[in-house]
């Protein structure tokens, strides 16, 4: 049996491949009685599926060219794109038996040639063989892994029940499709309920890991979830969904930009703006190890191959004690196992880059994968946009590559080794007839990480994780503005060890202990103006040249941070409380306390720094306390709250005695958040969260007209951000998923306490995103995304004076960040076709950003004397077309 899917593509436009034998070929819009009207298939004949191919489950697509006579009968049939002799012959034979209502020109039948695409798709047939098991599973003890026998498994809404057998197994037959509430109960087991969705024609197999009931406890809801959700506010996206989000070009990690609480980064930045925090305050961890950048320069692609990613979690704040060293949010990326069987992989290419992956099971216990990507957007763009785009927006060349091996040592015991590498290169030369206007930029950014991760789930239910890592970061930037050199080279070796142990210690308490050690050894060279690179809060206009003052420094800093942490999950019926703390002392060791001098020896420094705990009273003595609570008010309603103190050591770039301040200490923050989620259906969830963040000891430029030596930067800044976010999310079900997010955020800063609050440079009051994706037919899916964000704050120019030496006007500013860029909005569309051909899976997609060609202002640009202004708009329409082949 086979089903023939016919996709007819009638190409009538002049200049394309089809030639219509008609008298008015220029008539492109056929009407009912005027112009060319295409033929209409009246009689369809199904092709005979080649028996061996159907048996092997091989599909195919044959593109035919068919001559449709004036009578509507088929004349000649030719194969345009074949799929093998047997498929071709079957398709031709069927097509010759077609009959059409003929094409007409101004109402008169005319012969035409059309193209047909046959798809041979193996039809899945449901044959009733009597009662079928379509829901089965197994229950095991969470800690001992022993089968849980004699447990009653009940489908509550159907009032059907069964008991687990000696192996802990159970099964139901002919369960009606749809969501069902499942209840597990026994004398020794806490009664728990969960929900499962049964899909028509598919068998659902589940594995429940349960804990025995404690003595004297009647009810305790403990089901081992697929993962432990510790964060109060956290959004997790499955990779199957993430790949389909429009505007991401299939890049799983770019989905983070669409999550609630995340602001839009300006085109060309790729910055993560989370709950009003500075991009550099948000940490990105891969398998528990920090990486310096999630996206390549420009934000077009992530630095990690999407097929290596199992999941992405975003915690915009109030996260637990496991992580620290950041005042903003937390992105956690889990890498996946290379695969249990055979050799698989993919090759993909689009107008942005080419990528590929190979993964293989060397032995049943040893799996490896290799992947890589090479970007050529700089070359593609040059072919299609004006050449001076590069003057405004950085268009880098990038590459990344990864290797991963996973070795199973025993039952629930595994070790993996991962190598991550990423490089970005940017070269720009802006020639000019004016020697002072010749500009060059040369930027290289790279990182490497080698991560070993050992995990072991012990028979008593406790778990151990140990992950040493080391890596190297390089960030070299050299500019030349008309002979004035500017240089910033930062080279850092990073090494770390993360270890954790988790076990039940009481009736209601599971305790986790861990150590997060991180060392960073940096060497920095900097030459140039005090004001470049720009900092948050700098008052400047886009394109303003840097100051002509030239400082110079070369300094080394070691940051050693050993952060022990502990937290416990305390379950009290419907209430779960997770208190924890994290002690985060950092040894800061530098070679220059004062600028290098030719007459005095250099003096270094070493100190232990602890992030300040700004909490009042006795709480101030607690080492970075964190707490979260979750209360399941009803089976559908869950309330959460969380708070914590967070620290962040100073950036090594700021510890220069010439450009910064070697005495800078850690900044700190207090996060408070709370809200709830309501499960509207089994897969539709509504979440509402409010938050408040207060930031302390932020680094800002000195306001002193003549600051003391080594105090160009001071720690006088404070900040706050507050707001809420709403997420209505339909998880992937029946080929459809989507979400609506809206965040209302205000983020403000004071560079010194005596100033009034000003808007944070990245403040975006309203951030809205709506996206949906639907698999319309088997293999064909389409989606759309709409985004709206408030424009970023800018400082207005209210006048100008003339710099007679440099022959330029310079701006006179109004109130700091008192105007905004116009709002950004964009509609993006994605269509994708997936099909199988000779055991190869193909995906062809078109991802079109900004289909309405909205000229979104990205920056304000002024006339030479600042009397007029306009906006620089981002890329108007970006259509990324790509293909992917999997094997």
């Amino acid at each position: 049996m086979c089903r023939l899917t016919v996709a007819a593509v009638i190409v009538l436009a002049a200049g394309m491949t089809l030639t219509a034998r008609a008298e008015s070929p220029s008539s492109e819009e056929p009407e009912a009685s005027k112009g060319l009207r295409p033929p209409k298939l009246r009689k369809f004949v199904e092709a005979v599926y080649p028996a061996d191919k159907e048996k092997a489950g091989v599909g195919a697509r044959v593109v035919l060219s068919i001559d449709v006579e004036e009578s509507g009968h088929v004349g000649g049939v030719e194969v345009v794109i074949g799929a093998g002799p047997d498929f071709d012959a079957a398709a031709v034979a069927a097509a010759k038996q077609f009959e059409f209502d003929p094409a007409t020109m101004d109402g008169t039948p005319v012969p035409v040639k059309i193209q047909y695409a046959y798809k041979f798709v193996v039809k899945e047939v449901m044959v009733s063989l009597g009662p079928q098991i379509n829901f089965e599973g197994v229950l095991t003890n969470r800690f001992t892994k022993a089968p849980s026998r004699g447990v009653k498994v009940r489908i509550v809404d159907l009032n059907a029940e069964t008991m687990t057998d000696e192996d802990g197994g159970f099964a139901f037959t002919d369960v009606a499709p749809g969501p069902h509430v499942i209840e597990l109960s026994s004398r020794d087991l806490v009664t728990i309920k969960t929900e499962e969705v049964i899909t028509k024609g598919k068998k659902k197999t589940v594995k429940y890991m349960v804990e025995p009931k404690e003595d004297d406890v009647d009810e305790e809801a403990v089901v081992r979830a697929p993962r432990i959700k510790k964060e109060v506010v956290e959004t997790r996206v499955r990779t199957e969904e993430a790949k389909r989000v429009p505007g991401t070009q299939g890049d799983t990690l770019k989905v983070v930009q669409n999550l609630p609480g995340v602001g839009r980064s300006a085109f060309g930045s790729g910055a993560l703006i989370v709950w009003g925090s500075a991009p550099q305050d948000t940490r990105v961890n891969v398998d528990g190890v920090e990486i310096p950048m999630l996206y390549h320069v420009g934000g077009m692609r992530s630095t990690i191959n999407a097929d290596l990613v199992r999941s992405i979690d975003l915690s915009p704040g109030s996260f637990g004690a496991e992580y620290g060293r950041g005042l903003g949010g937390l992105v956690r990326i889990e890498l996946q196992d290379p695969g249990k069987e055979g050799v698989h992989g993919y090759v993909a290419s689009d107008v942005v880059d080419v990528s590929g992956m190979v993964k293989a099971a060397i032995t049943p216990n040893l799996r490896v994968s290799l992947s890589g990507r090479y970007g050529y957007l700089d070359k593609s763009l040059k072919a299609v946009v004006s050449k001076d785009v590069g003057d405004f927006f950085p268009i880098p060349r990038y590459d990344d590559y990864q290797a991963r091996a996973t070795l199973t040592l025993g039952k629930d015991e595994e070790v993996s080794a991962t190598f991550l590498a990423s490089d970005d290169h940017l070269r720009r030369v802006v020639p000019s007839s004016d020697p002072l206007e010749i500009k060059t930029q040369d930027t290289d950014q790279s990182y490497r990480r080698f991560i070993v991760r050992y995990t072991h789930l012990l028979p008593d239910g406790s778990s151990v994780m140990f992950a040493p890592s080391f890596g190297w970061d390089q960030n070299n930037s050299a500019w030349n503005f008309g002979g004035t050199p500017l240089l910033l080279n930062v080279s850092t070796w990073q090494y770390g060890v993360r270890g954790s142990y988790r076990r039940r210690v009481g009736k209601h308490v599971v305790l986790s202990l861990g150590m997060d050690f991180q060392g960073r050894s940096s060497t920095t060279d900097r030459v140039g103006s005090l004001n470049l690179p720009a900092r948050e809060g700098d008052i400047t206009v886009f394109g303003q040249p840097p100051g002509s003052d030239l400082g110079s420094d070369h300094w080394k800093v070691n940051l050693l941070s050993a952060a022990p942490y502990a937290f416990s999950e305390i379950s009290l019926g419907r209430l779960t409380i997770t208190p924890g703390f994290r002690l985060e002392p950092t040894v800061i060791d530098g070679n220059l306390e004062l600028p290098h001098s030719y007459v005095k020896p250099d003096v270094g420094y070493r100190r232990i720094d602890l992030p300040r705990n700004p909490l009042p009273g006795p709480l101030a003595w607690m080492p970075n306390p964190r707490i979260s609570a979750s209360y399941r008010a009803t089976p559908k309603l869950n309330l959460t709250a969380g708070a914590g103190v967070y620290g962040q050591p100073p950036a090594v770039e700021d510890l220069s005695p010439v450009f910064g301040n070697p005495h800078l200490q850690s900044s700190s923050a207090v996060h408070v958040s709370g809200g709830g989620s309501y499960k509207l259906t089994g897969t539709l969830n509504l979440e509402l969260i409010g938050f408040y963040k207060k930031l302390y000891d932020l680094v800002a430029r000195s306001e002193a007209p003549s600051p003391p030596v080594g105090q160009s930067l001071v720690q006088s800044g404070i900040g706050r951000s507050y707001g809420g976010q709403l997420l209505l999310r339909q998880e992937l079900a029946k080929g459809f998923f989507g979400w609506f997010t809206y965040s209302l955020i205000r983020s403000e800063r004071k560079d010194s306490p005596d100033q009034s609050w000003r808007l944070f440079d990245y403040d975006q009051t309203h951030v809205l995103a709506v996206l949906a994706s639907y698999e319309i037919t088997h293999g064909f899916q389409a989606g759309a995304r709409f985004r709206y964000t408030t424009g970023a704050p800018r400082t207005p120019v209210i006048g100008a004076f003339f710099n007679a030496k440099d022959q330029v006007y310079e701006p006179i500013y109004g109130a700091h960040n008192s105007i905004r860029l116009p709002a950004f909005y964009s509609l993006d569309v994605r269509v994708e076709e997936a099909f199988v051909y000779r055991r190869l899976k193909f995906n062809v997609f078109a991802d079109v950003q900004n289909v309405t060609n909205r000229k979104n202002p990205e920056e304000i640009i002024y006339s030479a004397n600042f009397s007029q202004r306009d906006y620089i708009s981002g890329l108007p329409v970006l259509a990324v077309v790509g293909a992917r082949m999997e094997f």
């Binding site: 200049g15 030596v709 160009s712 701006p811 306009d870």
Partner: protein, 342 residues
């Protein structure tokens, strides 16, 4: 054709995210402004006894040089030596306080466009590396960084009162245009090895202003005029509307001086030739380039440009000004007039 159609359908970047042209170029003089300030001498050493400087401004509007009794602007320029250092929070070349007439009051010079001043002896402390010794228990003041030529600069403010009828958007104040001259001051070489400091002291010569010698004017390769470069324009030269005029500004050979400067990249004393820039301004027509010049390794003694007259200037005198700067801040300027005929 097929490929281009497919590209249009499938590919990519349909429009160009292009550089917006906002407003007129800087070379177009559309109202009262001060284009240049020439300090003589071009560089002084505040630690010495010779610290007097005579400043002359090139203030213009569409009618020519101002102020003057026969122009629309009669008020003389007001001058001030600004003693306000720029904090690290500011990105402009001078402190915003220098714009404040209460903090830095202005005065009138001996002529409407000139001013005589003495650079204060503490200029190298305020704007240079010679910071005062630290007080007991306090950190010393951070020395200022020199520019790529090793220079430090004293801001000099000059203000042009603009009558109400001539005011435009984005003026410096509600009623005036302000320019700053950055008068180069010699503060010695800071933070270098002893022998290098000696070498620098022995070989550094205070900067002198460059000298514009002549301007050549050609049409279609034929020389129309070679005029001496003077601050006051000579007789107007007749040109046709829409005509492209090839101009070249020449300077004297001794304008390009050689000087030592500390190279922050190599941390050594390096000898440079001055680079030269010519800024072009006109009350009508358009220039091919606003600024042309020669880099320090370019030995040519002229900078070419092309000016195209426009029909809107027919029957009028178009004023052209050239401002020559060497890379150490030395200045000269010249004027030209063109009579645009149909």
């Amino acid at each position: 054709m097929k490929r281009s159609s497919l590209a249009a359908v499938f590919l990519c970047f349909v429009a160009s995210a292009c550089r917006p042209e906002v407003g007129p170029p800087i070379s177009q003089v559309g109202g009262p402004t001060i284009l240049a300030v020439k300090g003589t001498p071009a560089e002084v050493d505040p630690r010495s006894t010779k610290t007097s400087v005579v400043f002359e401004a090139l203030a213009v509007d569409e009618s020519g040089r101002v102020p003057g009794p026969s122009t629309d602007i009669a008020d003389p320029l007001r001058w001030a030596i600004c003693d306000q250092p720029k904090p690290p929070t500011e990105n402009n070349s001078v402190s915003a306080n220098c714009l404040d007439p209460d903090l830095v009051p202005g005065i009138v010079g001996p002529t409407p466009t000139t001013f005589n001043a003495t650079i204060a002896s503490n200029a190298c402390a305020l704007f240079g590396p010679t910071t005062p010794p630290a007080a007991e228990g306090q950190a010393a003041i951070r020395p200022r960084d020199a520019d790529v030529t090793g220079g430090y600069y004293q801001p000099v403010r000059v203000e042009l009162f603009v009558p109400e009828a001539l005011r435009r958007a984005a003026m410096s104040t509600s009623e005036s245009m302000i320019s700053f001259e950055l008068q180069r001051i010699q503060c010695g070489l800071a933070n270098a090895q002893g022998p290098k400091i000696h070498e620098y002291t022995a070989n550094y010569k205070l900067n002198t202003n460059p000298t514009l010698t002549q301007v050549t004017i050609q049409v279609a390769g034929a020389t129309v005029a070679n005029t001496p470069a003077t601050a006051t324009a000579g007789p107007a030269i007749a040109v046709s509307a829409g005509q492209s005029i090839d101009l070249a500004a020449y300077w004297s050979e001794d304008s390009v001086e050689n000087y030592p400067a500390w190279d922050v990249l190599t941390r050594d004393l390096v000898y440079h030739n001055e680079s030269m820039r010519v800024s072009w301004y006109a009350t009508g027509g358009t220039f091919e380039h606003d600024i042309t010049g020669r880099g320090e390794n370019d030995q040519e003694l002229f900078a070419p440009n092309t000016w195209k007259s426009d029909t809107a200037s027919v029957g009028q005198v178009v004023h052209l000004w050239l401002v020559l700067h060497d890379s150490r801040g030395g200045t000269d300027f010249a004027s030209l007039d063109f009579n645009v005929t149909p």
